[in-house]
Amino acid sequence: MIAAGPEATSKRRPSKINVRVLRQDGPGLPPYWERHQVEYEPDMNVISVLQKIAAQARTSEGNAVAPVAWDCGCLEEVCGSCTMVINGRVRQSCSALVDRLLEDHPEEIELRPMTKFPVIRDLMVDRSRLFHSLKRVKAWVPVDGYFDMGAGPRISRDEQEQNYPLSQCMSCGCCLEACPQFNKVELQRNPGESDEEFAARKEAAYSVEFVGPHAISQAVLFNSHPVGKNLERERMEALTSSGGVQACGNAQNCVAVCPKEIPLTTSIARAGRAATVYAFKKLFDR
């Protein structure tokens, strides 16, 4: 096959890509940097780089090592699995194109796990807290049941257009990683503690910390649904208690790093407005 002529030479294309990965063998163990080198191919993304690293299982010094562990799913930026910190910035690794990364940083690509969640291994972190936040704000429509009861409420086009972007949140955790008010909660299992006890202790710890922009936005989404609204008081109670919307520091990093460009800061402001109204009502209505 003819190597693509003038086009290829005009773009600088290295034959190898250097990758530096912050690895960690397990929870509580010390992290360490490791260098890998993979063959360059056109149209690579960080996922394909990691796939190559897994296949060769060898550092750039030639030492045999275990493949780097990481989490991924759809590879088209709708599942939210493959979040990590790439060249210092949190993002989805599937949409992190190698050519773009090399343009900004030709020497190497730096991969590290998210810093706000406990590391399970290497680039894999435990994001269960993120889903726990969705329970805190009761992010669901409290329907009677799943028997046929006819169509749902009529929804105007405006409402749909306002809600659809919020509903695209894929719980990837980028907003939480970039949020200066969202801090890591990492607990160690006590000796003799059962799975259930440990899980309960973790949930209790999560429950008083900042819920995060994603959950605030979901609360706003469901408060604006004609039936979802029925839980509004409970959601507002959650959003005005410890770790609620008042914990937001308005740094607005969340909206800047959200891969789905969800208007998180607008949701936060809407939640703030609702919280203000709720606080007054609570004081004077009841």
Binding site: P67, L75, C79, G80, W140
Partner: protein, 662 residues
């Protein structure tokens, strides 16, 4: 009832709707999933979900027509009662999803907006932006979280299903699964196990499917004795964006809005696309199908693109196969308005603006119509009997399969926007049947512990054996997977030849042996993705063998399964009388082929290879008729066929609804 539990494996649309329904019926559910359920592959579905609706009804549409379109689109290979039931439930499914808060696009008045999809004349498809699957999944995920918060559902996320547990009578009484973080292997006693683990795209290496769609869960059931049906029917989508890691879907609407497909006439032309003059471009779809141009049906587009790259060597990229899908002749503003969303996907993943440079696309494996064989019980009207424990049950009592991993709804070819429907429908419908099953049987919690201990220790042995293969000269599982993908993609996607299939079968059997000798780069026992992947790989081979075996034995073309050597020919004569005679022959041949091959291929595992049997298809409601799209002489054949079916229906009008009891 109190100590009864159900285990659901898989948290996509099917698994979540089953979980939610069972929870509503008061049954505690353990939900095992490879990934947090909100990240399941259902999120990738873009298009929409079909149902008859108030608008189409007034245009003459009804549930029967939706049923007919689905059967016709599937080339009559489905058993008809489940499909009928699904079509009649479709409006109810959409109503339910609407109530759950799915952000369906709306009309100005606030009704659910609909679009038209392939294979029908009506605007049946409800959609939520370009992420309908994601929106539907989230609604179900939220409901399941609600039940989880109430304590009725317990999720086991990042757990790998290793296989069903059968008691001495062969009944499924639970499953064994492995925590992918701590690597703990344990059993889950359950009074019924529902497998909802999706498709098997990874058997083809790269596909449009997510990384966990390995088919390994279905394979583990298959190897435990469940039957696997219609494996050879794999839908290939004509336009996907080739990537080093996966093939991403490029919506058909790009061609709908005027996109042109071409390659340079000269093989390996090194010039940039815009430097190639019109005269040296080969718009092969437009030239070969002047009437339909770039908008030929999916299967034809797929075959042509495949052919131009594989057989004619005209791929536009020296390193891989692809053709240009060109939109650059359309004004930017128009593109942004009509195709903004999907063009952004291309730009995001290819780093190239498709408004300036033609897209590079190639067909990609997209959906498995086949899957675990499941039973059904029909009612008097030819639909399903609600609450029957036989519905969605595999041949292993107590083991159920729903969603993409069953074989039941799409026959030889799936209609666009029907998959989301079949997943949610089968999930909702299976619930009451399971409740009845549980009530009729002894609780699994009362079984001797040894049943479960035995199953766990077998899996532990397999695990330990794999971990002991560290380093050394063994096979690299990742490279072996690539090899499998290459073989399968060559032999068993768009165009199939018996010599290639025979060859591939031998190779895959050999690879299955090599797969047993995989050596691992990671022998640790903490979040070892290496060993999890290797197990999945080993379990891909039986499914690959089912696909190849089914394809090899099926000497016909039907739906997604296309064998040029056995296709029904077009009519050649121009003389009307002669043409008429050819059409008569054609219809005879069609009848003969129907008698021979309108059958479900059912594989059962024999320890090292699948054994294939054929089973009659339940066509009690609609008689098979030929699909004539794009065939020369179609009008004449249609005329002959019409006359014949009129005489037939005159003879059998009384018997029509009776059919054979399944």
């Amino acid at each position: 009832m109190a100590k009864n539990r159900v285990l659901v494996v898989g948290g996509g649309l099917a698994g979540l709707s089953a979980t939610m329904k069972l929870a509503e019926l008061g049954i505690p559910v353990d939900l095992v999933s490879l990934t947090p359920v909100k990240r399941s592959h259902s999120v990738c579905a873009q298009g929409g979900i079909n149902s008859v609706n108030d608008l189409t009804r007034q245009q003459g549409d009804d549930e029967w027509k939706h049923f007919d379109d689905t059967i016709y689109g599937g080339d009559f290979l489905q058993n008809q009662p489940p499909v009928k039931e699904m079509a009649y439930w479709a409006p109810k499914v959409i109503d339910l999803m609407d109530r759950l808060g799915v952000t369906f696009n709306r009309t100005p008045e606030g009704f659910i907006d609909r679009r038209r999809f392939g294979g029908t004349l009506y605007k049946r498809t409800a959609f939520a932006g370009a992420t309908t699957g994601q929106q539907l999944l989230y609604a179900l995920d939220e409901q399941v979280r609600r039940h989880e918060a109430a304590g009725l559902v317990k999720k086991y996320e990042f757990w790998d299903f290793l296989g069903p547990v059968l008691d001495d009578t062969g009944r499924c009484v639970g499953a064994v699964a492995q925590d992918m973080v701590s690597m703990e292997i344990r059993s889950f006693p359950a009074d019924a196990v529902v497998v909802a683990t999706g498709g098997c795209g990874l058997v083809y290496g790269r596909s449009t499917m997510s990384v966990f769609c390995t088919g390994s869960a279905a394979s583990r059931c298959f190897q435990a004795g469940a039957k696997y049906a219609n494996g050879e029917f794999i839908q290939v989508h004509p336009t996907a964006i080739p990537g080093a890691d996966k093939l991403r879907l490029m919506s058909e609407s790009a061609r709908g809005e005027g996109g042109r497909v071409w390659v340079p006439r000269k093989p390996n032309d090194p010039r940039a696309p815009k430097d190639i003059p019109e005269s040296e471009r080969y718009y092969f779809l437009e030239e070969r199908f002047p009437k339909y141009g770039n908008l030929v049906p999916r299967d034809i587009a797929t075959r042509e693109i495949f052919n131009i790259c594989v057989n004619e060597g005209l791929s536009v990229d020296p390193t891989r196969m692809c053709v240009y899908l060109d939109l650059t002749h359309i004004p930017r503003a128009e593109l942004d308005r009509k195709l903004g969303g999907i063009l952004e996907i291309y730009e995001k993943f290819q780093g190239v603006d498709p408004r300036d440079e033609p897209m590079k696309i190639f067909p990609a494996v997209h959906y498995s119509m086949g899957g675990l064989w499941v039973d059904y019980e029909a009612n008097g009207e030819g639909g399903l009997l609600p609450g029957s424990p036989r519905n969605q049950s595999t041949n292993i009592p107590g083991l159920y399969a729903i969603g993409e991993c069953d074989y039941q709804y799409h026959g030889a070819n799936r209609l666009g926007a029907n998959s989301l429907l079949s997943c949610i429908f089968s999930g909702l419908f299976v619930g009451p049947g399971i409740v009845n099953w549980i009530q009729a049987n002894k609780a699994s919690a009362d079984l001797p512990k040894s049943v479960f201990e035995r199953a766990v220790s077998a899996q532990e042995a397999r695990h330990k054996q794999l971990l002991s293969n560290r380093g050394g000269e063994g096979e690299n599982p990742y490279l072996l997977h690539q090899e499998l993908g290459d073989i399968m993609t060559r032999a068993a996607t768009v165009v199939r030849y018996n010599n290639q299939l025979t060859d591939a079968l031998a190779k895959v059997a050999d690879m299955a042996e090599r797969g047993k000798r995989c050596s691992l780069a990671d022998s640790g026992n903490w979040t070892n993705q290496n060993v999890i992947f290797t197990k999945a790989l080993q379990d891909m081979f039986p499914i690959a063998q089912c696909i190849l075996e089914g394809a090899l034995k099926r000497d016909e073309s039907r739906g997604a399964h296309y064998k040029p050597d056995f296709s029904m020919p077009s009519l050649t004569s121009t003389d009307p009388a002669e043409r008429r005679r050819e059409a008569e022959q054609w219809c005879d041949a069609f009848d003969e082929n129907t008698n021979k091959y309108l059958k479900t291929s059912v594989c059962s595992w024999q320890g090292d290879a699948p054994e294939l049997e054929y089973e009659d298809v339940d066509t009690r409601l609609l008689a098979p008729r030929p699909r004539l799209y794009g065939l020369v002489g179609a009008e004449v054949i249609e005329q002959v066929w019409k006359e014949r079916s009129e005489t037939r229906s005159g003879q059998n009008s009384e018997k029509k609804l009776v059919g054979s009891a399944h």
